[in-house]
Amino acid sequence: MSRQVRHSLLRVFLANPLAISGITLVGTLCIIAVLAPWISPYDPQAIDTWHILEPPSAQHWLGTDTLGRDCLSRLIYGSRISLLVGFVAVGIATFIGAFLGGIAGYYGGKVDWVIMRLVDIMLCFPTIFLIMAVIAFLEPSIWNIMAVIGLTGWMGVARLVRAEFLSLRKRDFVLAARISGASDLRIAFSHILPNAIAPVLVSATLGVGGAILTESALSFLGIGVQPPTPSWGNMLTAGKDNLEIAWWLSVYPGLAILVTVLGYNLLGEGLRDALDPRSRERG
């Protein structure tokens, strides 16, 4: 990528209002997650039985929960869980997807057929059913959740990478690499893959939002991140149980999920517009 091209991509990206709002949201959330111990007004685990289920006030901006814990502090710490799950799960999914998709596209033939059938099969299962089935055997913990979301979310990336490989593998630079004696793996993953990175980056960014939504749904159902570790999903479980008496327990954690996922989706769309001229035309 020449400097000029990079420069114009950056300009397209920065001229896109969606992308700007996306990067602002994501950036702010990352800073909040990193600075959590310094900016939370209270200890997120500190139980205060004298002040349970208090509505938002000057002391507790977002109120307190059933154990008198400060909701704002728990929300701030919850952002760490969401970001961690989002990045690790998508990392696993992207790694598996790029590997399998790359092999399928590079070798073609039987290998391609088998891998693509596996993709078809995996796509027949509702992801949440598959995740729940696996979770039923494991202790629900944040590490298992990340692994399972990653292991059930690689199919889209695999299809993307395969399609890119199919169009790239006949190019001259691949032939050149082969003539100079590079191994198959080397050609596939250090020569072809970098040329297919743009759509992978876009789908990974959008995937972070999806993974955060999945984690929150699982935690909400009680099979994700377990209390007392604060996660936006399990905070909403408490909201549901106290719907009639404590609206603030339901409203704010959901808003936090919405804003975070929105941030990643906007960023992903902005990247897509910047990297793929065709999508810009389509508007």
């Binding site: 099969i121 796509l123 059913f129 089935a133 039923a136 939002g209 909403l236 959901g254 999920i257 804003v259």
Partner: protein
Amino acid sequence: MNLFIYFIRRLWGLVPTFIGITLISFFVMHLAPGEPMSIQADFNPKMTPEMRQRLRAQYGLDKPLYVQYLKWLKGLAVLDLGKSFAPDRRPVWDKIRERLPITLLINVLSLVLVIVVAVPLGVKAAVRHNSLFDQITTVLVFVAYAAPAFWVALLLMLYFGVDLGWLPISGIHSLMGYDQMPWWQKALDWAKHLILPVFVSAIGGLAGLSRYTRSSMLEVMRQDYITTARAKGVPEHEVVYRHALRNALLPLITILGLSLPGMIGGSVIFESIFAIPGVGQLMWTSVMARDYPVLMGNLVIVAVLTLVGNLLADIGYALADPRIRTGVQSDE
């Protein structure tokens, strides 16, 4: 190639996928650590090693895996999915069968809602590209995409159920006095209970489908035949709804087919929130109780339903687009 041969070929192509589905469902359940009856065993202080062994034999768990798989597959062919581990020990298929209709009903209703609302929205946004209307729907779509469905459900319950008291917030019909109601009151009672679940399960689809309709319409509106139609003086309304929309809707058939697993998956969440006795709730309770036969049965039935849905979408596509069934490739 006529439609019938196309259908047979598609059906044949699904055989490996079907076998794969059964294999994955089976091995997910059996390769995982932990014993299927460990919950029963762990909570029973009188459990001796001999009793454990007898239980294993009773469930066929002492046989080699491939024998268990073949036995399970043979049962699947006649919808015998084994018996639930729950104390009622009922056949798995009975449990799924009695819960399937309500889940399908809600999903079909929300699919209808999605199509009826999202397609016109997408068309309008595309026709008035970059207008205020287009921008507002774009923002709404982004928000709807990012909003967790279960949170929206909670907010709606809070507002319409708790604050206004207009709509019931759980179950599929009233508990008190339902049996004495005349049929029209029963129907009304059902409708009131179904409004929120149907709407909540439609949100994601609404956002997705209106977005797809919009971009598909934008793509089609740029084609030469649209210019031709306009040039020969076809009214704009007819250009949009007869020439453009028909072609723009083609890819949507496939997209609807692909969105099936997501919709059924969503059932887990809204059925547990609204206390609806459907397949999603069954899935959740069987996870909680580690009721393996029910889990496995659910997984395989839902995946097969998805497979059938995709096949129907393919056939719909072939019916709608002669290029597919005749095998003629269009040159882009």
